[in-house]
């Protein structure tokens, strides 16, 4: 091989290698979301949190709630602890939010919530039943990596994602920021069907509880009307033993 030929071949190989490298090294959005699901996955959890709802009119309501999740987040049960007006009221979500029941202690009755409510607000908060339904991000969203950005000083993947058929029905698109080192999610922005940005979820104060990354503060802001809901975890337990019967309609009134 002549030296010029050898040189040309070497250059071509180097260029090809350079071009191929990102494809080999870069993660897809789905892979990143799977990693997020992994670091945040808890088979069961029990979280005591306080919720503050601020309406567009500036009225506020504060609640203390105990939330249980099972089956890796597919099942959820929230019970209002205070104030008195709603103490004992429970919301049971099964099948990742497809089935919802509400129990009213004052009348001792349980009501099934219409499935059309999935994209509606949970008890006047800025979260929809879709938002509250735990589950795997990788299952409900897919899309592309749009680049990297710093959020709160930390380097993050910026993912532009759209809902999968099993995903939330309230949104046409979302942007999810994923910390490149911890694979936690500091921020999600949601877009409506007209393509307008309508809500922003911020997740802060991540702590590792039994090896699971759990945010201790969620804040959902409605960007169209100024409504704001924050949830602050006060006690978190994960992968604890929970009786499966807790997540049944029959158990709600007990």
């Amino acid at each position: 091989m002549k030296s010029s030929q050898l040189r040309r071949t070497t250059i071509i190989c180097v260029l090809a290698g350079l071009l191929a490298a990102p494809a080999v090294m870069a993660q897809s959005a789905t892979e990143i979301l799977q990693k997020v699901d992994e670091v945040g996955r808890a088979e069961t959890s029990r979280i005591a949190f306080s919720q503050q709802v601020k309406t567009p009119g500036g009225d506020t309501r504060s609640f203390k709630i105990i939330g249980l999740t099972g089956d890796g987040g597919a099942k959820g049960l929230s019970e209002y602890v205070s104030p008195n007006q709603v103490r004992g009221m429970k919301i049971l979500t099964l099948n990742e939010g497809d089935d919802i029941w509400v129990f009213f202690p004052r009348t001792n009755r349980t009501r099934k919530i219409a499935s059309s409510a999935r994209n509606r607000r949970v008890q006047g908060s800025d979260f929809t039943y879709d938002d509250m339904a735990s589950g795997k991000l990788a299952k409900h969203w897919n899309g592309r990596v749009a680049g990297q950005e710093k959020i709160n000083g930390k380097q993050c993947h910026k993912l532009e994602v759209t809902p999968t058929p099993s995903g939330p029905r309230s949104y046409s698109k979302a942007i999810i920021w994923v910390d490149t080192s911890s694979y936690t999610v500091p921020r999600i922005e949601y877009f409506d069907t007209d393509g307008d940005k309508i809500k922003r979820l911020t997740l802060e104060d991540y702590r590792s509880i039994a090896g699971v990354q759990i945010p201790h503060r969620y804040a959902m802001t409605n960007l169209t009307d100024g409504g704001h809901t924050t949830m602050t975890a006060t006690k978190v337990e994960v992968n604890i033993k929970l009786n499966a019967r807790v997540f049944t309609e029959a158990a709600l009134g007990r």
Binding site: T55, P56, N84, M89, V102, I113, A114, D225
Partner: protein, 938 residues
């Protein structure tokens, strides 16, 4: 040159003072003629401050001209019971034509075009079902499948569970919340009719008529959810831009018709028929009238109080009567001439210029104080008239002239902002100062001359020596001595306080809510607030026009999704699209056929009977089921109340609690009814009798609502078309906010939502937002212009950069004190009071100018002497100015009062900084060498 001018003026005045007096009288005559030919208007709406060439203002005025509904009047009826309120509303509807205005030809014309005492019930009664969404029609179809009492109550319970509990999340939608409130109210009132039927009450037919309305078309009247407040809409016959006629008409409606109905005797004649009612009005025309009345009252009262107090201080300080009276006369002349110029140039006084007279009193009296002091002193020294006038001009003329020119130049600089409101303020005050100066330099000395001549004749050339000024303030001389000894100490102490107050400025807040700056007790403002509280409808609104109905429909649908939007008023609410009507038609026909099948006549107003199947007594089992369904209703409403609580739906929560007793079921209206019915021996008969009464009426009304005739714009009643359609065929959409728009950045979100619906959106919310932006940017510009103008005049006056800079320091320090103190007092800036900021720069500089001149003339070593004389004169003038501004500070109008408070603080702060900070600075930086400057008394 100035000296020559003063010499000539003094000579002319001493020889021909009569000519000056006649000249003054002539100017006054011209001003009077101008005011007769061009009467001045008082336009004190905040909206009037928005420049007329603003696109949103032009669009607003176009809409107001084209749609009389845009300037609708809302009548609020409170007190008494529901029936009394309805009776008053009917009386108002009957007599509204008596409210008239005088047109430009002198003819009396009716002001009111239409009074709407409820929703457009006639149209809804005719086409209600075709106007109902398909999903709701499906609900109605199930709900009204069987109109007998127990099946219907069971269906209602099913409906409440399905719609408001199992689909509770949707109650966050405004319309659904309204329907829930009305539905609950209607069902409970309907059930309470069982007792009337059981008693064989004579009122049953009328009661049945009302409750069947509630169950079919909803509440035909506009009541708050607790029935405490009823609203009646009055549509004027003329548009709001015919301001004078509108004010005439509103006055006639309020003080004539409404007041007269309220004083009507009862049927027996022993008491008033509507003694328990309290009726007030609001809406743009009413707010404008009441704002004008308050402003006129404030203006008159403030001016009078200011004049009296200033006169009293003058008398107290100089211990004489004639000079103060002549000074007041001089002020009146200056104000009168200025009013003539304002009438000729602008034709109106706005919210900012309305108080110009009081500001002129505060500033203009200073001229007379200085001139009188110098003139009296010269006379007491035995000088003749000419000598006294010469001494007056030489000692006081320069100071007065420089002060007046500086202040007026700073005011005129406001005109360079280009914002109409500021231009009018700057020109009005600038001209006012110049005209008061003119009167002070010509007519006032002429009056002094006349007085001297008269008293010379009376007292045979033995003039009475004026008494010395009583108010001497020796503390000022002590202050001068302290500054002379310890200038650094005084400087550091002053700067520390200034820094502290400067830090306080960072907490300055702006009040964007126009209602908050209105007089808080004004009836229209009170009603405005109640409407927001009880109906969750904010009085400020956005509006736009559209050509195409489909575009309007899309915009309305989108707007209703936003929780900030309380109500969208558009013609499309009465004209569903053809496609929607076609989708609804089969269900409308089905329901119509069913209803017509159960009655003998579907024609409204004709007698009809219940079918034989509806028995006049129900079985014991059915009666038992009724009681059990009432318990179920209690539980449903309780659950709705809990959901309303978590969803922060206050109105629905209140409505539920009123029916269930809230936390304490012992107060439940539903359970109380159930218990009474359970104890009744005749329950079965009562239920049977009741359902035979209401069932045919309800079926008849539902049959009427099931009119299958397609609805088109042309088939709409004229009163609806006129409200929404212009002659050119555009349709008007009005959007009311559900929240207090002016807090926590809601304006931006609300306007962003409305601008997505139309880029030509206007309305009070848009205009106020624009005004705030303009006042912010132009106000800042005005402040810098005033500062620049003052600096240039100081440069011209002193011809020395150092002195010009020194003159600015106390002004800026005083400005910082004023702002800091205002914030520390817990006050907020607003679109009105913020105008005091550039004004104080023009007013406050005077003190520094006089101190600078005095120290230059006498030498820095003479500080005690400077402060004893100049300081005293400045204290006197600051007191007079402060008293005048203090009169504004007590205005009923919060915005104007704030302006007065800021000006008082500004005058006091600039006085302090000029007699403390400036001498300390000069003591430190200036060598002790008096200049050869001649000057004023101060």
């Amino acid at each position: 040159m100035r000296k020559q001018l003063f010499d000539r003026l003094a000579t002319a005045l001493s020889r021909h003072f009569g000519v000056f007096l006649i000249g003054g009288a002539g100017l006054t005559g011209i001003a009077a003629l101008v005011l007769i030919l061009f009467p001045i208007r008082i336009e004190t709406r905040v909206m009037d401050l928005v420049p007329a060439d603003e696109p949103s203002a032009q669009e607003f005025n176009d809409i107001v001209r084209q749609y009389a509904s845009a300037s609708q009047i809302i009548v609020g009826i409170k007190g008494g019971d529901r029936q009394q309120k309805i009776a008053f509303a009917r009386a108002l509807k009957e007599r509204a034509h008596e409210a008239t205005y005088t047109d430009p030809n002198g003819q009396e014309q009716p002001y009111v075009k239409r009074v709407t005492i409820g929703a457009d019930t006639d149209f809804i009664a005719e086409h209600g079902l075709l106007l109902t969404k398909k999903r709701d029609l499906e609900n109605f179809d199930e709900l009204f499948a069987d109109l007998r009492l127990v099946p219907l109550l069971t269906a209602y319970n099913d409906f409440f569970e399905r719609e408001y509990i199992e689909d509770s999340a949707s109650v966050t939608e405004r319309e659904k919340e309204d329907r829930a409130i009305n539905g609950l109210k209607g069902v409970v009132r309907w059930l309470e009719g069982i007792e009337l039927a059981g008693r064989g009450d004579q009122a049953l037919p009328e009661y049945v008529d009302q409750v069947t309305d509630l169950l079919s078309i909803g509440d035909p009247y506009i009541f708050s959810e607790d029935d405490q407040l009823m609203l009646v809409m009055v549509q004027p016959a003329i548009s709001f831009d015919q301001m004078e006629e509108t004010m005439d008409g509103v006055r006639a409606l309020r003080d004539g018709v409404v007041a007269d109905i309220l004083t009507q005797p009862s049927a027996g004649g022993s008491s008033r028929r509507f003694a328990d009612l309290n009726v007030t009005m609001t809406g743009m025309p009413v707010l404008a009238l009441e704002e004008g009345e308050v402003a006129a009252e404030d203006m008159g009262a403030s001016s009078l109080i200011a004049l009296v107090l200033v006169l009293a201080l003058f008398v107290l300080a100089f211990r004489m009567w004639t000079a103060p009276l002549l000074a007041v006369l001089n002020l009146v002349l200056g104000i009168f001439w200025t009013t003539g110029v304002v009438a000729l140039v602008f034709g109106r006084l706005n919210l900012l210029t309305a108080m110009f007279a009081v500001i002129l009193i505060g500033l203009g009296i200073d001229f007379a104080i200085h001139l009188n002091a110098a003139f009296s002193t010269a006379r007491s020294e035995g000088k003749d008239l000419k000598g006294s006038l010469l001494a007056m001009f030489h000692h006081a003329g320069a100071g007065v002239l420089t002060g007046a020119l500086t202040t007026s130049a700073a005011f005129f600089a406001l005109a360079l902002t280009g914002l109409d409101a500021l231009v009018e303020l700057g020109v009005t005050l600038g001209v006012g100062i110049l005209l008061t100066l003119l009167s002070s330099m010509t007519v006032l000395p002429a009056m002094y001359a006349l007085h001297v001549r008269v008293s010379d004749r009376l007292f045979k050339r033995n003039p009475r020596a004026p008494k010395p000024v009583r108010l001497t303030f020796p503390v000022l001389a002590d202050l001068g001595a302290l500054i002379g000894r310890r200038p650094w100490l005084v400087l550091i102490a002053f700067l520390l306080i200034t820094a502290g107050l400067g830090t306080a400025m960072k907490d300055a807040a702006f009040q964007p809510d126009m209602l908050e700056i209105e007089p808080p007790d004004m009836p229209s403002v009170v009603l405005h607030r109640e409407v927001l509280e009880r109906f969750e409808i904010h009085p400020d609104y956005a509006m736009f026009t559209e050509k195409e109905l489909d575009t309007t429909r899309t915009a309305v649908k989108r707007l209703k999704k936003n929780r900030l939007v309380g109500r969208v008023d558009a013609i499309t609410e009465y004209v569903p699209s053809v496609k929607e009507q076609q989708r609804r038609l089969p269900l409308v026909n089905k329901m119509g056929d069913r209803m017509r099948g159960v009655i003998t006549s579907a024609a409204p107003g004709t007698p009809t009977e219940a079918p034989p199947a509806v028995q006049s007594s129900v079985s014991a089992a059915e009666a038992e089921q009724l009681l059990s369904e009432l318990e179920r209703l209690q539980m449903n409403v309780q659950e709705m109340g809990q959901l309303a609580f978590t969803s922060v739906k206050k109105r629905l929560k209140r409505a539920c609690d009123r029916l269930t007793g809230g936390e304490d079921p012992r107060f439940s209206r539903i359970l109380a009814l159930k218990n009474r019915l359970a104890q009744s021996d005749t329950l079965s008969t009562a239920v049977g009798t009741y359902q035979r009464h209401y069932l045919p009426r309800l079926a008849q009304k539902l049959a009427r609502m099931a009119n299958p005739t397609p609805i088109t714009v042309d088939s709409l009643p004229a009163k609806i078309r006129e409200r929404y359609l212009s002659d050119e065929g555009s349709n008007l959409v009005t959007i009311y906010a559900a929240v207090d728009l002016w807090h926590e950045g809601k304006t931006e979100l609300f306007l962003s939502a409305t601008k997505k619906a139309s880029d030509r959106v206007t309305g009070t919310a848009v205009l106020v937002d624009r005004l705030i932006a303009l006042i912010g940017s132009k106000g800042l510009m005005a402040t810098f212009l005033a500062l620049g103008t003052v600096f240039i005049i100081l440069l011209i006056d002193f011809r020395h950069l150092g002195y010009a800079v020194l003159g600015m320091v106390p002004l800026l320090a005083g400005f910082t004190w004023m702002m800091g103190l205002f914030v520390l007092l817990g006050k907020k800036f607003d679109v009105i009071n913020v105008e005091a900021i550039p004004l104080i720069l023009g007013i406050g500089i005077d003190d520094a100018v006089h101190v600078l001149h005095s120290i230059r003339r006498q030498g820095i070593g003479q500080l005690p002497n400077v402060l004893r004389h100049t300081g005293r004169a400045l204290l006197l003038t600051s007191l007079t100015t402060g008293i005048a501004f203090g009169a504004i500070a007590f205005s009923a109008h919060i915005g104007m009062a704030g302006m007065g408070q800021l000006l008082v603080l500004g005058v006091a702060s600039c006085f302090l900084s000029s007699v403390v900070l400036l001498p300390a600075l000069m003591r430190i930086f200036i060598k002790d060498k008096p200049s050869n400057e001649q000057g004023g008394t101060r």
